[in-house]
Symmetry: C4
Amino acid sequence: MRAAREQVAALHTELVRYGLVVWTGGNVSGRVPGEDLFVIKPSGVDYDVLAPEDMILCTLEGEVVAGSLGSERSPSSDTAAHAYVYRNMPEVGGVVHTHSTYATAWAARAEAVPCVITAMADEFGGEIPVGPFAIIGDDSIGRGIVATLTGHRSRAVLMQNHGVFTIGKDARDAVKAAVMAEDVARTVHIARQGGAPVPIPQDAIDSLFDRYQNVYGQNPEGSLA
Amino acid sequence: MRAAREQVAALHTELVRYGLVVWTGGNVSGRVPGEDLFVIKPSGVDYDVLAPEDMILCTLEGEVVAGSLGSERSPSSDTAAHAYVYRNMPEVGGVVHTHSTYATAWAARAEAVPCVITAMADEFGGEIPVGPFAIIGDDSIGRGIVATLTGHRSRAVLMQNHGVFTIGKDARDAVKAAVMAEDVARTVHIARQGGAPVPIPQDAIDSLFDRYQNVYGQNPEGSLA
Amino acid sequence: MRAAREQVAALHTELVRYGLVVWTGGNVSGRVPGEDLFVIKPSGVDYDVLAPEDMILCTLEGEVVAGSLGSERSPSSDTAAHAYVYRNMPEVGGVVHTHSTYATAWAARAEAVPCVITAMADEFGGEIPVGPFAIIGDDSIGRGIVATLTGHRSRAVLMQNHGVFTIGKDARDAVKAAVMAEDVARTVHIARQGGAPVPIPQDAIDSLFDRYQNVYGQNPEGSLA
Amino acid sequence: MRAAREQVAALHTELVRYGLVVWTGGNVSGRVPGEDLFVIKPSGVDYDVLAPEDMILCTLEGEVVAGSLGSERSPSSDTAAHAYVYRNMPEVGGVVHTHSTYATAWAARAEAVPCVITAMADEFGGEIPVGPFAIIGDDSIGRGIVATLTGHRSRAVLMQNHGVFTIGKDARDAVKAAVMAEDVARTVHIARQGGAPVPIPQDAIDSLFDRYQNVYGQNPEGSLA
């Protein structure tokens, strides 16, 4: 549990480093291995001062665990959405939410990012899809994420008019998906400003996705999809 | 008063961190609690060397308080506009002015930023409005800010051909509004480059604004609006 | 002379800080007060390692002063252009050249940046003009700068297909002009992407320029123009 | 060999500094002087922790040298492409691959970057060409790079739908080409957003390229082309 707190606290600095968040926006959570619990960022706290002990321990129903370290604070206002994902996607070990600029720009148009660069095929296996318009207050954001990503290769979903949610086998994998989602959303946006990108044949997309999930890196372990 | 000087000096580094200012442009001021006074940045001084003792103490008429710390220097050339806001909007505790890129680009077209992302609904409760063309030399900038923001949910106003002014319950709140105004001005600009954004229904905007002002963060205290 | 070396060396870090240069591109020079000499960056040297003793002392004919500190190195390949400016514009104390992105983009189209934001009126007194296409090898770049800026309010000129040159009363003033030129070139570019900016009336431009040159900052001293 | 490891490890920080890479994407390799060997980045390792001893020594067939330092790790997944270049272009001493945003945007449209700014004429001697669509799995990426760049002045090639590969007389020269390729891809993209750039006459391009390859910097040594 200590390790989960440390990892999730540290991963928030990656959101800052890659320019995915401003002020106190955005949040990372990670499942506690072997427990029906996850840790998540507190609501409205500066990234500069987030320490492991500030992370808040929650049940899969999104309730703060009474008496746990940090439990006197309010968890991220997106906690219910994270909890819904953990309850309904047992293979997910990490969830990230940001309003990163380019991903959110596609989301504002409710337009999926088309797969026209090989890095997207590698990482997402095709387009980054759009989820429904849903606002905070019930399970509608969580339901939209789960409905869109279940059975989809992509670990990222653009929630309409809102921003991006990503999932991963652990919190680090979800943060990587958030970084890559913004990177490809930006590149494809800029590509389209100059004219129509060349499509990538579906069999090439399939081949790139398969290889990347199984060969890339030092310890390939397969993907969520 | 010392605390006001320290807070206002420190907040200027946030303008630099978020890329809202270049060279010596931009300024933050904060009302001194319980006094008819505010502190503001000196004119044309590097951000690298701004210390609490450099902040300049002014009356609500925009006059430097004779004999006060730093009073041998000239205050920001926008001091009259800040003073006009404090005189006419007693609920305002902080004012920020920048020429941040995307906000100023909308201002150059005299076009309000439409509310097509939920973060705008949260933070501004709708569009970011445009104020009149007004140049330095009398109260016309201050009057334009007050006329535009009085009774408006937005804490940010795009002054035509000029830049953005933001207000807040305190200086930090006004800086947050400046950061968020640039962030949403950028995201909506980029969204529109790829086609028409999907509108957000008014009742959803109302609901998001209401919730964000009353629930978000560790100590929700309601908004100015 | 030592002070001139230190100032010019230090000012190069501002080019890096504001993202105006990549690799070893760009250069700053400063006139040595009271002498027919100036100091300039060496050619093709990393910004990370530029020290005062690396600056190269040149005559107003652009020749390295034999035996001076650093004289074993080649000066910037733009030295002839800087020298031409110092010979022909005695009021100029500093010159800067960069290929900063947005200024160079306007230069590639040979299009002046129109004055549609008040910060441009303040700093440049109107549009940023375009100079001729000229390539390295003789005095044609220097002649183009001088011909375009003589009698013009602007301290910046976009050399067609090339980049931007700025002048100032000293090296710091020329660096400020380079920073502001890129900032306004970017803002006006982005403004135009969304539609036509609103023009600023000429009398307002005149009034803003006059005031900024004579009132802004702690020690207003008038401008070059 | 130690020097090659140190140089290649250190050069990866330049990719980060200039924003050419995110997460673990991108790679630099350098030929070991006097040997039929090169060193390259390991696959999927964070830029923050890349040390000289992590670089992987490979033969010109792209095989890891058994028993060499770091040989227990997998080399970059682009190793086969680097090896193909070294086998077939003996004058090449360094190879770099990135998915930098603007270069990749042009690549997604299979569109060469036209030479409309003098910095491109200096550095690339004309346009940056496009290579074929090719995916990982055989020599097709390496063949595409070599076929496109052989006899071409440009040290950069945009591989369709993929990213950019650059070559140099050594690893540092290839990194410089990667930095400059992104810089000019960005500037020309932005120039075109505002209208048609002015073409540069071919004789001026030739003259600029010739001069830059032979005169610029402290120790001009000619170019690869």
